[in-house]
Symmetry: C2
Subunit: 243 residues, 2 copies
């Protein structure tokens, strides 16, 4: 048996998220179907993280164990030939037997993209949230800086979620302008449910001048009601998983 790590990209637009569900088409189901076709057996998949419905990935990581003689560099081609065009395996490598895509992950990097032109760019309409009014980049960057570090992020978790601890280490929260886009890049040891989308919605409210840029009081409230809007899923991309 070999332990194989795949790097996976997908457009989440047409899927009900990563994780397999009954009566809904998911990324996991499509990839497991391709594994079955290529390797001739049912193979369960372990993923670094579940992405929600409508969320995309360029660097999702999964692993699985199989006995195969297919050369490792041919595996992406074999799988891609059996996957829809909106799911693409970009790399495959052998990893040690104890590698686990989720448990071994040290941090994950996501990016939320805002199209801040007056009128949206059609080509990125599924990959960026269009905000037609001006956003103050400096205020958003100031607000982002108040969230970086080890904090209790309970205010930035969807209400009703259950989790052992709501403390997370936010390693990076960059807000950059690239042409007409504002890119929010966030890295952490883990994320609470909807955390990035709530952070993004809150930063948008700051950028619009609707709330002060110091978000320390929001953290201290430890209540979902203290934070801002949940930005929609289609602007979010899972960029990278670090091991």
């Amino acid at each position: 048996m070999k332990n194989i790590k795949l790097t996976l990209s997908y457009a989440g637009t047409n899927y009900h998220g990563f994780q397999r569900q009954k009566n809904a088409i998911t990324i996991q189901e499509k990839v497991e179907q391709a594994l079955q076709t290529v390797f001739g057996e049912s193979i369960p998949l372990t993923a670094a993280g579940r992405t929600d419905a409508g969320v995309h990935a360029v660097g999702q990581v999964v692993n699985f164990k199989v006995a195969t003689s297919i050369p490792i560099n041919r595996i992406p081609y074999a799988l891609n030939a059996n996957l829809p065009h909106d799911i693409v395996v970009t790399a495959a490598e052998f990893v040690p037997d104890d590698f686990h895509a989720r448990y071994c992950a040290k941090s994950k990097v996501y990016r939320y993209t805002i199209d801040n032109a007056e009128h949206p760019r059609v080509f990125t309409r599924h990959y960026a949230l269009h905000i037609g009014y001006p956003l103050n980049l400096t205020l958003m960057q100031q607000a982002a800086a108040t969230l970086v570090g080890k904090h209790n992020f309970r205010s930035f978790m969807a209400s009703g979620s259950s989790v052992q601890t709501t403390e997370r280490h936010l390693l990076r929260l960059d807000v950059q302008k690239q042409q007409q886009y504002i890119e929010i890049t966030v890295e952490a040891d883990g994320f609470l449910y909807n955390m990035i989308r709530i952070i993004t919605g809150t930063l948008i409210e700051v950028g619009r001048g609707k709330r002060p840029p110091d978000l320390t009081p929001v953290l201290n409230e430890r209540s979902r009601a203290a934070a801002g809007w949940t930005a929609p899923p289609h602007g979010l991309v899972m960029l990278e998983v670090k091991y």
Copy 2:
């Protein structure tokens, strides 16, 4: 009556090209329907150029005449509210009465994008042609240089087309690498039918080492058979019309 110029962007994926047809959905039909809704009358549209089925635009230019009191900067919003999400008006301006989107155009700029990574990027799958094998950029640039200038481009016109003259002035044909993409940017006073897609297909054959980079003999043949493959429409975008 005011003469109004619109700048139009669209993803051509779901349309049978720009020009109105019976029994097929086109960009022109959608825009004329929006004009009818906004201005309350049937208004014919003049476009700088027709784009084929599957071809996109960020800078298509159209004009039309109407008596209206809607402020010019509100017209894009009014039209966009009545257009599908893959067609967006990005600008509107009053122009002199004799402005004609097609006849007044001095040159047009198009871009053809090739995704030259081993495995395609999912987000641009509708906007870039994926070529997984390596292409030699230097050879493609050498070949491009042999086409720039005033030439008879009959070899680069779809066979069966009828046109008064096959001479065109190619002002620019740049081949640049941007990350994993090869961008072919072309400007001319006018284009023959399928000209950019045949030029692109021929440059790809040069980049793959399948034909020599000097394309002067191909021009001199004045026969479609002398040039290369017609690249598919989805990599092509109408970038700008110059007046």
